[in-house]
Symmetry: C2
Subunit: 336 residues, 2 copies
Amino acid sequence: MRLTFDEIKNEIQRAFMKYGLSEEKAEICARIHTESTYDGIYSHGVNRVARFVSYIQKGWVDVNADPVLERDMGAIRIYNGNLGPGVLNALYGADRAMELADQYGIGMVGLKNTTHWMRGGTYGLRVAQKGYVGIMWTNTEACMPPWGAKECRLGNNPFVMACPGPDGGPAVLMDMAMSQYAYGKLQVTRLAGKKLPFPGGYDKDGNLTDDPGAIEDSMRILPIGYWKGSAFAFMLDILGSVLTDGVGAADLDAQTKGSCGGCSQVMIVIDPKKTTTAENMADTVKRAIEYLKSAEPAEHSGGVRAPGEGILQFHKDHDENGIYVDDSVWAEIQAL
Amino acid sequence: MRLTFDEIKNEIQRAFMKYGLSEEKAEICARIHTESTYDGIYSHGVNRVARFVSYIQKGWVDVNADPVLERDMGAIRIYNGNLGPGVLNALYGADRAMELADQYGIGMVGLKNTTHWMRGGTYGLRVAQKGYVGIMWTNTEACMPPWGAKECRLGNNPFVMACPGPDGGPAVLMDMAMSQYAYGKLQVTRLAGKKLPFPGGYDKDGNLTDDPGAIEDSMRILPIGYWKGSAFAFMLDILGSVLTDGVGAADLDAQTKGSCGGCSQVMIVIDPKKTTTAENMADTVKRAIEYLKSAEPAEHSGGVRAPGEGILQFHKDHDENGIYVDDSVWAEIQAL
């Protein structure tokens, strides 16, 4: 179905208030879920609302908790998220990191013991739209085998880099997890009776396969770049815990407070006004995008897109036709 | 052949001094090339010596140039590398970034207009061995097509993350470029008459292939994770220039001062003593590595390695048998 921004936001806010969030906190969380949906990131927008509520019910998210400052040293602040709503904690962390960047040029917030931030790109866009560069990640429970192993020991940790866009253009945003495909993509592809565009993992016998169901069965999803994404996911896990005084996959797997329950997030924010002039920056970003897009398209390709540019197509469609929400997902939210 | 550390270092130092480096600068550069070789990174160790000399001869590296501070704002410093030797500039930048981290907890050095830093891991190891966390990258000239294109517009930009190792253990180090395989790997595999372990790019007709020669011909190497590595490479390029007041691939391609001539490097260094206790850190790193390695090995796998652990095998071999240097590479250095 197609709905307006406010129809979606108001319904999510209603549900969140019913399960204990204050009117203000429910409004913010509902807006973020709706914005992600508007940007086309359905998986971490409307599609995650019911799961968030279930986490509240299980006691894995404390709707009344706020982040508490534990360490304040120069351009670094460490907060304990106290298992509060991950979206609120992460917004708070991103805002504090921008304040540190105002003061020191670069700032880092480490957020420990927090919960699922939903879409990592939310926080990258937040700082980029205010003129900052962001480098952010979260660690998560293990759901991916390291290179050379059968068993899951790595989180599918998302890594975000964001930069203000050229004048009038959208922010440049990369928000990528470490697996070639998300489990959601495997499910959607299997239900459609299709194969993956490229091999996405191993079957139970250790054969690389593009059959999504075989990978769901084995739980042997493939890191991007094979051994490279495996190493990258591990670095994000270990630096996530070291830089926040928090925990990583080993402990998250033992705690079992749902996806990302108790996880650690790092937000490094830089003020590019301290590194270059506004003119240089606008020119650099514009020229880099133009150069990227000047490449001759490959066979069967629609051409090259800058990171984050795909959002614009969703905005156009959603502005013209209303925001898409899966019928069953909407019914699920209404039933909350 | 097999040589001692000092035999290699002294010969490289002799060559570098012949081409204009001071005794001290030549010693440092020679030591870094030798250390990379000792660590098994031949491609960026001894194998790059002759190319570095050729860059001096072409005027692409100024042996007398030193980095000059251009901006000094809080925890950020921007240096102009003045096309000096990339290794010396990058060592200088890493040391300044550690000083900033001492003062502010986190520090960033932006190094513009510099030259090839050889092995990125050199600088990650340097800070990690002194107890710091490092996040570093360089941008480069384009040698890889963006996702959806035939023509090269992306640098094969290396990205480094490093963390102090557990007590007595090696640093945890990821040093990865954005392509699935380096051109050097394609060449070596082709000369051996072999196929790549996994598809590494496209042939001239746009078919994904594991034939290294076909990829060398088309120059269509594959980014790690297809569209993901493409976006990542672009972010490293654009943030490289924005965060250093420097230039990216568009300008590097126009300048044509060899590989990385005039490039931009970002070094973010964090002092984990400001984010956690020494005990927590040692425990966290140790447990993360143990957890990673506890996974049941996959079929035909020698088990899981922590990032950076591969260096130890090279040390063992090189300590027992001498450091391996290709005969023709050694003859090339001796002839300089």
